[in-house]
Amino acid sequence: MDKQQIRNAYKMYLLENGKEPVSVYMLCKTIDMPESEFYGFYSSLEAVERDIWLAVFEETLQQLQADETYPQYNAQEKLLSFYFLWVSRLREDRSYFLLQRDIFTVPLIYRNKLSAFKTAFYDYISALIKEGYASTEIKERKYISDQYVHGFWVQALFVLKYWLDDTSDNFELTDAAIEKAVNLSFQLIGSNTLDSLLDFGKFIFMKK
C-alpha cells in the first residue's frame, strides 16, 4: 500500500459514487485496508484531497525537469510549458476535477483543498521570478515585485477554471488562453508600462 493507491482509491470512490466518502472507514473498505494503516499515510480524507492536487503539480514538475529542452527555456517559456503540461496531466483525471469545481464557488477561507498545491506553486513561481530578474525578463520593483507570486496564483486558477469550462475540441481554446494569459502577464511585469502607470498614479495623488 502506498499514498498513490490511496489517492487513486479516493478518486475512484468519488467518480463512482458522485460524492466524497463519508468516512475513512468507507474509503478503506473499497481497497481492503485496515483503517489504522490509512493513518500511517494520511491523517484525514481532506489530507488526501489536498495531496491529489499537490501530486498533479509535482508530477508535472518532475516531468518538466526531466525534459531536455525545458532548462534552455527562459522564464516565460518555462511557465508556458508548465501550464501546457499541467493541463494535460489534469486531463487524465478530468472527470474527477470536474467534480471539484466547487473550489471556485466556496468562500476563500474554505479553499484549503488547494493549500498544499498553493504552497508548492508559490515556491516554484518564486524561483521562476528570480530567474526572470536575472535574465531581465522581469523587472524588480520595490514592494510590488513581492506581489507577483499572488498574481501568478490567480493566473493558475484562471487557467484551471478556463480548462474546466472549456468545451472546444481537444481543449484548443485552453491552449490559446494559456498562451495569451502568460504573454500578457510577462509583458506587464517586464515592460515599462507598469512603471509609467505607477509614476502617473503617484503624480496624480501627489499633494500640490
Binding site: E68, T69, Y73, Q76, E77, L80, S81, F84, L85, S88, S168, N170, E172, L173, D175, A176, A177, I178, E179, K180, V182, N183, L184, F186, Q187
Partner: protein
C-alpha cells in the same frame, strides 16, 4: 523576427481593437484636413497611407481570419487605393509568431510525440508565418523539412472574427450588407476549410500529383505520418518570394519561364481539374534561379461547379459575345444581371460588363501576351477605379456576380498581378491550354 507578445483574446477585445482603429482612422482624417487647410496642394495619398498603416497594424494583431481578409483585399489592387494595397500586401509575407512551448504542446497533443522525438533537428524559431499558422524548419534522415503549425482555436474564432470584420470591410470595399452576405458566406466556408489541415494535406497531395507533369513546376513531397489536424509536414523548398526574386534582376527569359509555368499551372487546374489553388498571393510561390516555381499551400482550393464553369468561360468566346440575347442570358446565369432589372439597368450594366470582360479576357484571345505591357494594366486599373466611383454601382442594392466568381476572379487577379510584376511575355493562346488539358506536353 519579433515574437508577438500578445494577441487579443475574446470577441470584446477583438472588437475593441477595431474600435481603436476606427478612432485612429478618424484622427487621420482630421490630421489630413488640418494639413490640407495649411497646404491645399496636399493629396489624399498620404491620408490613405496613414489609414492603411493603422488598419494593417490592427489586422496583423488579430491574426487568423482578419488577416486573411486583409490578404483578400490586397489581391484586388484595383479595388483599393494604391496605399491600402501596398500596406496590405505586407500581410502576405509575415505575421508575428507564437511561443515554443505551444509548438511542443501541439505536437504532443496531436501526434503524441515532441518535435525532438520526431525529427533529427527542429528549429524552435519559426522561419516564417502563415496567416493562420507558422512554419518551422526541421530535418529528418538528412532531408530538410518544412513543418507548418496551426494556432489553436483558429476554426472557432473564424466566425466571430468575420462578423466583426464585416462592417469594417463594407466601409473599405464600399459594398452594402446584402451584397456582402452572399460573399461572406463563401469566404467563411473557404476559411473554415483552410483551418482543416487534414483536408489541406489531402488536397496538396492530390493536386501536386495531378500537376506534376507541367513543365517548370516544383512541388514538395508531403509526409502524412508527421501531419495531423494542426500540423503539416512537407519538404523544405528553397527559393525566393516574388519581390526578392525580382530584386535579383532575373533575365527576361527566366521571368517568361516563371510566368509561363504559373499560367500553365492555373489553366490546367481550371480547365482540366475544375478545382483551383485559389490563393495566388506571392507568399505561396518560391521562385528558383533557373525559372522554376515551387508551389505549396493548397489550403484554399476552389472547386468550380460545372454550370458556373460553362457560363463563365463562354464569356471568353468572341462568337458568343456577339449574340446579345445569349450574352444577357449568360449574365443572368452568372447573377451579374437580375431578372428584376429594368431595361435601362440591363443596358447600363451589360455595357459595363462587356467592357470589363473585353479587358480582362484580352490575354486569352491572343496567341502570346506581354504582361509587362503597363498600358494594359493601367487601363484595367483605371477602369476599375471608374467602376468603383460610379454612382450607379455604389447605389445598386443587389449583389452582382455569383459568389463562385469571388474566388475565381481573385485567382485570376492574383495571377495577372504576379505576371504583371514579372513582366512576363508568355504564350496564352487557346491552343496551348487545349494541349495541357489533353495531357500533351506543350511545345
Amino acid at each position: 523576427m519579433k515574437e508577438q507578445s500578445n494577441i487579443p483574446t475574446g470577441k470584446v477585445e477583438r472588437a475593441g481593437k477595431f474600435v481603436t482603429t476606427g478612432l485612429k482612422v478618424g484622427t487621420n482624417y482630421i490630421k489630413h484636413y488640418t494639413r490640407k487647410l495649411m497646404d491645399p496642394s496636399i493629396s489624399k495619398e498620404s491620408l490613405h497611407q496613414d489609414n492603411a498603416a493603422d488598419i494593417y497594424n490592427t489586422l496583423s494583431n488579430l491574426k487568423g481570419s482578419a488577416l486573411k481578409v486583409a490578404q483578400m483585399l490586397s489581391m484586388d489592387k484595383g479595388m483599393l487605393p494604391k496605399a491600402y494595397a501596398e500596406k496590405f500586401a505586407m500581410s502576405q509575407y509575415s505575421a508575428p509568431p507564437l511561443s515554443g512551448p505551444l509548438v511542443v504542446n501541439t505536437f504532443l497533443k496531436t501526434l503524441g510525440k515532441s518535435p525532438a522525438q520526431l525529427f533529427d533537428k527542429f528549429d524552435m524559431h519559426a522561419s516564417n508565418a502563415a496567416s493562420i499558422g507558422q512554419v518551422h524548419r526541421a530535418e529528418k534522415n538528412g532531408k530538410q523539412l518544412a513543418v507548418k503549425i496551426q494556432y489553436p482555436g483558429v476554426a472557432s474564432s473564424v466566425k466571430s472574427d468575420l462578423r466583426i470584420v464585416k462592417p469594417f470591410a463594407m466601409r473599405i470595399v464600399g459594398m452594402n450588407e446584402v451584397d456582402m452576405d452572399k460573399y461572406f458566406e463563401e469566404i467563411e466556408t473557404k476559411l473554415l476549410e483552410e483551418t482543416d489541415y487534414q483536408l489541406e494535406l489531402r488536397r496538396s497531395m492530390d493536386l501536386s500529383a495531378a500537376c506534376a507533369h507541367i513543365p517548370g513546376l516544383l512541388f514538395p513531397g508531403y509526409y502524412p505520418e508527421y501531419s495531423s489536424e494542426r500540423i503539416i509536414t512537407m519538404d523544405w523548398l528553397n527559393g525566393l518570394h516574388l519581390k526578392e526574386f525580382l530584386q535579383t534582376k532575373p533575365s527576361q527569359e527566366i521571368r517568361n519561364k516563371v510566368g509561363q509555368a504559373l499560367w500553365d499551372f492555373y489553366q490546367f487546374q481550371v480547365h482540366k481539374l475544375r478545382q483551383v489553388h485559389a490563393d495566388p498571393h506571392p507568399g505561396n510561390f518560391l521562385m528558383q534561379p533557373d525559372g522554376r516555381v515551387g508551389i505549396f499551400d493548397f489550403g484554399c482550393v476552389k472547386v468550380i461547379p460545372e454550370d458556373f464553369y460553362e457560363n463563365y468561360f463562354l464569356l471568353v468566346d468572341k462568337e458568343v459575345l456577339k449574340d446579345t440575347a445569349r450574352r444577357h442570358q449568360i449574365y443572368i446565369n452568372l447573377e451579374m444581371l437580375h431578372p428584376s432589372d429594368t431595361p435601362k439597368e440591363v443596358a447600363f450594366f451589360s455595357e459595363l460588363f462587356q467592357h470589363m470582360i473585353d479587358l480582362m479576357t484580352l490575354p486569352f484571345t491572343q496567341e502570346t501576351f506581354d504582361f509587362g505591357n503597363e498600358s494594359y494594366f493601367n487601363e484595367v486599373y483605371a477602369y476599375m477605379d471608374e467602376l468603383y466611383n460610379m454612382k450607379e454601382i455604389r447605389e445598386s442594392k443587389v449583389a452582382r456576380g455569383s459568389s463562385h466568381s469571388l474566388y475565381i476572379n481573385r485567382t485570376y487577379f492574383g495571377l495577372y498581378s504576379i505576371l504583371s510584376d514579372l513582366q512576363a511575355n508568355i504564350i496564352t493562346g487557346q491552343h496551348r491550354i487545349q494541349q495541357l488539358v489533353d495531357g500533351r506536353q506543350p511545345e
